[in-house]
């Protein structure tokens, strides 16, 4: 069953660049003077790579946030990190600083994490549910700010912001793909090197501290690195929600193993899931591509609900 899943995943990954709105001749792919080769190598291939690594980052980010906050609902999105990145991107668009979009998104993510840290340090002894509520409140606050941005921006900027908030994997060339690849692999390696610490966090904070874990330092490093990676991902693709929430849970429900053993599968299937959703978004035959966030939620939500209902126990 697992091998079949891996096989299907590889078939999806390898075949993904061959499908799209432009039909191409397979034989032309290596004829670099043809337009088919340009579509394949400059548009579709980088897009698939981008989708894979962004999916990996979002899924892994969800796993880390769920583990650290000991809450199955917390992800960089529910805690406002992605909304922060989105708001700051909108600010960059309104200010006409399109070339600094990535830096703004990145700052938005970091500002949010810093705010969460300051608030968390004042929530002594209370449960992480309070912090989750703070994150949700923060998301609403950012949404309100985003509305203000819409209000003060002109029609063209508003359209840019709307397109951005829907999430999109449109890329041309390899610049942003190279960045996301480095960031994603860096994050994966870092999280893998924190496997033991994550395993301790799967018990309780108290137990982890009693076994010698420097809880503050570990939380700081993990949350910051995930936020940086998510900030970079959001700056390139816009906010693509839901993957970080459901992919870790789906894999836990299927593998029935503790989370620290699922780091690589969650990264891999997070990537495959986004590539698959993008494949559908690109091939529905509509005038333009359906926003990727629509497809992830449309496919992910029913499957997720089905898995939860099949469970005998809660997550």
């Amino acid at each position: 069953m697992r091998y079949l899943a891996i096989l299907i995943s590889f078939i999806i990954l390898i075949s993904a660049p061959f499908f799209g709105q432009v039909d191409m001749q397979l034989t032309n792919i290596f004829d670099f003077s043809s337009s088919d080769a340009i579509v394949f190598w400059d548009i579709r291939f980088p897009r698939v790579v981008l989708a894979f690594f962004v999916g990996g980052i979002l899924a892994l980010g969800g796993l880390v946030f769920q583990t650290i906050f000991r809450n199955p609902m917390s992800t960089p999105f529910t805690l406002g990190v992605a909304s922060g990145a989105t708001l700051f991107t909108a600010i960059a668009i309104v200010l006409g600083l399109m070339q600094f979009i990535s830096i703004f998104a990145f700052i938005g993510a970091i500002v949010t994490v810093a705010t969460l840290f300051v608030i968390a340090s004042r929530l002594k002894g209370t449960s992480t549910a309070s912090l989750l509520l703070v994150g949700i409140a923060l998301s609403f606050f950012y949404s309100a700010c985003l509305m203000v941005m819409f209000f003060i921006s002109d029609l063209h900027d508003s359209y840019e912001i709307v397109r951005f908030t829907m999430g999109s994997l449109d890329v041309v060339g390899f610049d942003s793909v190279a960045i996301i690849t480095v960031v994603a692999i860096g994050l994966l390696v870092l999280i893998l090197s924190y496997k033991y610490e994550l395993k301790l966090l799967l018990t309780s904070h108290e137990f982890a501290i009693l076994k010698g874990l420097d809880l503050k330092k570990t939380n700081y490093i993990l949350l910051l690195s995930v936020s940086i990676a998510v900030g970079v991902a959001v700056s390139i693709t816009g906010p693509i929600g839901f993957i970080g929430l459901i992919v870790p849970h789906i894999l836990k429900l299927i593998y029935k193993k503790s989370a620290e053993k699922l780091i690589v599968p969650i990264f891999f299937y997070g990537g495959v899931f986004l590539v698959f959703c993008d494949l559908i978004a690109r091939n529905l035959g509509t005038v333009s591509d359906i926003p990727i966030g629509v497809v992830t939620s449309f496919l992910g939500a029913p499957f997720f609900i089905y898995l939860i209902m099949r469970q005998k126990r809660g997550i």
Binding site: L201, L202, T203, L210, L215, S258, G314
Partner: protein, 216 residues
Amino acid sequence: MLKLDNYSNYILDDISLSVKGQNLIILGSNGCGKTTLAKAISGLLDNSKLDTKLVNYIPTKLDIFDSFLSVKEFLDLSCLYGKRTIDEVCEILDISDLKEKNAKTLSSGESQLVLLASAILHSAKYTILDEPTSNLDPQKVKRVFRLLKDDTILNYKVIITHNLDLAYKLGFDVTYIKDGKIDFSGTGQEFFAQDNLDKYFDKSVKNIDGNIVVSI
């Protein structure tokens, strides 16, 4: 040595306590600050890195976040300084059949035994046990009593309990907490003398032929 100097917080009121090379029983009514005292003296309330070799704290309830972490994996994380293997410790506590279960699905009694196994595998110099027998059936209380009495299982112990007979028969020194303050500190013999019991338990606890009996 575990030590608190004039320590105060939201419940504890100017407590000074040191535990040096001895076993100790902490008694006191519900909500008087026993668990807070135990966490304070183990360093858990400082939010900093702990000396795992010196101290371990075992809570009453097993708290696990991940639904699929097995008992064996949980115990793996506890293996620090103890000389016994997981299999040996499970054998001693008669919980070998629990090893493959998910730690989160255990009953409260089972999880209390798993916590005790974790304490033995960790083997800190001082182990603070917070009501280690509160969810156990009488046979298991007896088994745990023998393990707590045996100094080769755990080194020094600080035990919080409401089981007065267990506390008496362990024969450790006793500290009694009342309203966040230390109200009594002395040997077990002194504390469990009838006059003293009358003073602390409203004449409802009797020392009859070497057994501590609670009349309801």
